[in-house]
Point group: none
Chain length 126, copies 4
């Protein structure tokens, strides 16, 4: 279900957060669905309880999930349509693109990377 890379420079809690967000935006997790418990997920991923807690706390602050004392975390209503996280992600992408261009990245190479990430839906197929 999750692929955690301990040798990556990306913080573990970022990796988990990204993958949970992905499951929600892809529709695998739907509003109202219950997420695995903190301790459960921590055990499965061999991560610390607090690391998972941090992930869930951030997702809750973003309004993507809600906690219910004693029963668990649940996907929030309208989680998929949540614009706050998308807006932040776009902003970050923009700044990264600008830095990459400054470093000498060409438009062609950038598009190639984009296709890598977004799968086979390339611009030539249309």
């Amino acid at each position: 279900m999750f692929a955690i890379d301990h040798s990556s420079p990306v913080p573990l809690y970022e990796q988990v957060r990204t993958q949970i967000l992905s499951l929600i935006t892809c529709g695998v997790l739907k509003p109202g669905d219950r997420l695995p418990s903190l301790r459960e997920l921590a055990g499965e991923l061999s991560l610390n309880f607090n690391t998972i807690k941090k992930v869930f706390a951030q997702l809750e602050a973003d309004g993507v999930i809600v906690s219910r004392q004693g029963s668990g975390f649940f996907v929030a209503d309208g989680a998929r349509e949540n614009r706050a996280v998308l807006a932040r992600a776009e902003d970050e992408l923009l700044r990264t693109l600008e830095r990459a261009r400054a470093a000498g990245l060409t438009a062609e190479r950038a598009e190639a990377l984009l296709r890598t990430v977004f799968g086979g839906t390339n611009t030539e197929g249309k």
Copy 2:
């Protein structure tokens, strides 16, 4: 000459490094040109001396600039063709793209952002 963003998650030394490389790939700085002194640049950018020192040390390790004892740093021959940096920039872009996709970014929107950054010069010539 430089735009430093203190609130960015990108390390200051990375921002400076990227922008110096940009000046080289754009041809503003040519092989043999002398770069400003460490203290000069640190003063202009209101950054710590050690931060600039780190930048120059990395650029020298990458073979992009060379130091000459007592006279300063100079752009190395063949600096424009150096690809070490580009690889790192691409890696960062990839990770950011993955996070943005997880947050719900569509391929279309991503392309739009890409065109924004790289100007109207899209690969189809339109």
Copy 3:
């Protein structure tokens, strides 16, 4: 009859307890009246049996209701005059007010909110 908010930071048992007390202080439930059974109420509110059990246990400890083995819970004599709960509610209000003031809430705005909740019946008669 009851409005339960799962996303509230207020414990579910507190919400139920508060609303039962409200019904008593408002006179809807009078001394001697029988309350719904534990399982009945738990079913109606879609809450856990234990949650309701805890509510009734506290209300009984506060002297607001009394249990009669085999026949259920009944509103106690003099329940309306019981002040144990009020004290707790006031304490919570105080802490919330302090936090709101720290966040920049002005006295005027606080009064406006107060009037919103308590209707137009302001102390000055206006």
Copy 4:
């Protein structure tokens, strides 16, 4: 500078957060000012590093302060005018007021509490 109550039901990080917010809204801490370092504050208050870290992380998420790697935390521009935290505080106050009223709190008593928190600026003095 800070008064921490270990026996209070209010989480320590909430107490610290409230008091820092208070210092900002009162103008003691102004935009651009540097806050004490995490370890410094933790030492002064005899609290754990992580507890303070949590406080600062929340304040940063709220846009009230910004972190600069290696140099510390600083009060953000426009921190005093930040509406997100105020809006959240007002919302919480409203819900607490409603619950208090349901528990039997009178308007007069509520106003008395309000005056307690907001000091001598009572409604009769004007």
